[in-house]
Symmetry: C2
Subunit: 208 residues, 2 copies
DNA sequence: ACTCCAATCTTGTCATCAGCAAGATAGGTT
DNA sequence: AACCTATCTTGCTGATGACAAGATTGGAGT
């Protein structure tokens, strides 16, 4: 039957994308606990049961959103490292800046990506996406201390990631510099990054 | 009326405590998203509406649990620092060990305490409890670099906390050393702490 | 000892949620 | 043109948080 111009088409056409997109906004607005499948459906203008044909459960949708988050995180790290030139230490700082910038722009998504729940989502692509971000970081650290032993490298990979991740995490949680301007916060972040890189360089300089 | 020995007393007597206790176990079992007020009530053997008389909302109960978590965290940090003697650097490492030990023993609670939601709970005692943990940390860092300028001190407080918090956070999320034994993980944690303290000491040695 | 009252706990209800079932529609395939 | 499968719908079930109204309790004041 020919439908009137104003009638809603029965088939959405790009519902999966629409749900991911709506879900991502909803996530930032309402937080992880306020996220509901039905609200996603409402925002995509479909019935409450429509999402089931694209995502087996609410966790499935969250996993997809988190996976895309990791892809974006990786891209942000790469881009900022590239902007920082060829010097390994500068690139490591840049990658950290990219990491923090992504987190600051997507605080709730970032929290979801690094939450305990996300780790139990059993989504292979999610684990894959997370690993590629990790490898990017690992390579950047190792490039700074190419002469160090494997043990030292591993420890510095841990340490560097912990410093970057810990700093931005504490900021997003409001534990650090609540009243600071975003400009001042950026300066504090850069200071933390500098301290981290310096520590890595020193540790790498003592071979063994 | 005299009630039979087997009859359940109408008044619980210590329901608030029972709910906090049950809620804490439930939290670790089911995670933040699996936490429900009704299950807490069930475990305390009261009706589903009973908790309302002790906690205005589910967030209120979570805030109380988080507040107690901060008190325990502070205690764990203090105790481990005390065990580490009087040397400031050793005490800072010890405090970090206490921090990580608490987090490892209460992973979900720890995640809750440092989640975005917890920050919006609007519970004065929660903010208070969080601050006292922060001050403990600040003092421990400043004791290591008493001669440093205020700026350097502030930056090292940021940095040290970020390193400790970031490391244990990544471990609890399963991002770091998934397959490591807890013994190996502890070693990696200590390595991160050492690198952190060394960096703080060096930075503090350059006055200004 | 008696009364009364406020705190505590109960049952019952409502709107909302995730997930499932069964039926309607659409777009593509043979 | 017939069909067939993915997509989307309405309509349920069981559970949740919050609220309302009533029952019970223990204690404060007389």
């Amino acid at each position: 039957m020919a439908r009137a111009k104003t009638a809603k088409p029965y088939h959405h056409g790009e519902l999966r994308e629409a749900l991911v997109s709506a879900g991502r906004k909803l996530l930032e607005e309402k937080g992880v606990r306020g996220f509901t499948l039905r609200e996603c459906a409402r925002r995509a203008a479909v019935s409450h049961a429509a999402p089931a044909h694209h995502f087996a459960s609410i966790d499935d949708l969250l996993a997809e959103i988190a996976t895309r988050g990791y892809h974006e995180l990786t891209a942000a790290m790469s881009a900022e490292a590239r902007r920082s030139g060829n010097e390994p230490a500068a690139r490591l700082v840049g990658q950290g800046v990219g990491y923090m910038a992504f987190a600051a722009a997507n605080p709730v998504l970032f929290q979801l990506m690094f939450s305990r729940e996300a780790n139990r989502f059993e989504a292979p692509e999610l684990a894959e996406a997370a690993k590629s971000a990790y490898h990017l970081h690992r390579e950047a650290v190792e490039a700074v201390i190419p002469q160090a032993s494997g043990d030292v490298k591993e420890r510095m990979v841990d340490f560097a990631w912990a410093a970057v991740h810990g700093f931005i995490t504490l900021v997003l949680e409001g534990q650090l510099g609540e009243k600071d301007s975003s400009r001042a916060l950026k300066a504090r972040g850069l200071a933390a990054l500098s301290a981290m890189v310096e520590a890595v360089v020193r540790a790498g300089g003592e071979p063994g």
